[in-house]
């Protein structure tokens, strides 16, 4: 069993990035995922403070008790909001030409680093999910990459990220580098970048748009 200090070591202690390894993408979750928990924390704080006001001021007229308990509520709320913000900031995805990395660091609570070496995985499937009205409006969704690897996890999930379609294209390009004989990974969206087309439909029906392109 490895301890945390054995798994996570200083970047300076590890091997340097390969000369040809370039960072293609650094991505965090969409900022919208922060809104709901922060909003609920504030709402709960207001509700609890109102209840304390009713109980301690209106019922038993103890200003000192109300102030000290309200201070505790403020402290708990600000601590919770700080934790939500820091956890969001320390959770990100990195795609390089050689690997995909998910770093999820929750200070004082947990560390999680998922590092997938791209040239050691066999086949891939890239799924893009954009579900719900808000996600559609804000162009927010998940990119799920399925690896055929013998280890514990077969899926690599980039959750609640902005521009999932563009990221999906980028992933398919990055994952195809070592496999020139593979069929182009299909992604059934029209990209913002016109150089990416509907690859499969164009291969099968070269001069037909099929009413979708």
């Amino acid at each position: 069993m490895l301890n945390d200090y054995q798994i996570i070591k200083k970047i300076g202690d590890g091997p340097a990035l390969h000369k040809e390894e370039k960072i293609l993408l650094r991505k965090r979750q969409h900022w919208l995922v922060l809104i709901m928990p922060v909003f609920f924390s504030i709402i709960i704080a207001i509700v609890v403070s109102s209840f304390l006001y009713y109980l301690l001021i209106l019922k038993i007229s103890q200003v000192g008790l109300f102030i000290s308990s309200a201070l505790i509520v403020i402290l708990i709320t600000s601590s919770a909001i700080a934790k939500i913000l820091v956890d969001w900031h320390c959770h990100f995805y990195i795609l390089t030409t050689n690997r995909i990395l998910e770093v999820c660091y929750k200070p004082l609570f947990s560390n999680y680093i998922n590092n997938v070496i791209l040239n050691q995985v066999k086949s891939t499937e890239i799924d893009i999910e954009i579900t719900g009205i808000i996600n559609q409006l804000l162009d927010m969704g998940n990119v799920i990459i399925t690896f055929d690897r013998p280890t514990h996890q077969e899926e690599f999930r980039l959750m609640n990220i902005k521009d999932p379609k563009e990221i999906g294209f980028l992933m398919s390009d990055a994952l195809d580098i070592e496999k020139p004989d593979m069929m182009d990974a299909p992604i059934w969206y029209k990209p913002k970048n016109e150089s990416h087309r509907f690859k499969i439909t164009e291969e099968i029906f070269p001069r037909h748009s099929l009413g979708v392109a």
Binding site: I8, K9, K10, I11, Q62, G64, L65, I67, S68, S69, L71, I72, I74, L75, I76, S78, S79, A82, K83, L85, V86, H89, C90, V103, Y105, P107, L108
Partner: protein
């Protein structure tokens, strides 16, 4: 009744102290990320953590003031 009030104040002061220590550790470990994982928190977030630690101990002082006021 006074005993109940003092018990309440003692509980709030204990919670406030625990939260202060938690906030301090949280700020230290967040800073640690910069050294170990090269995750640098933005200045505003670092300030928020420091402010949290500061207000925790200010709140302890305020509650202590209320307890002393009640006792003396």
């Amino acid at each position: 009744m006074n005993f109940l009030y003092i018990a309440f104040y003692t509980a709030t002061i204990a919670i406030s102290t625990i939260l202060g220590i938690y906030n301090l550790l949280f700020a230290i470990y967040s800073k640690k990320a910069k050294n170990e994982l090269i995750i640098a928190l933005p200045n505003s977030l670092e300030k928020l953590l420091i402010v949290n630690v500061f207000i925790s101990f200010v709140f302890v002082t305020i509650i202590l003031f209320f307890i002393l006021k009640l006792i003396l």
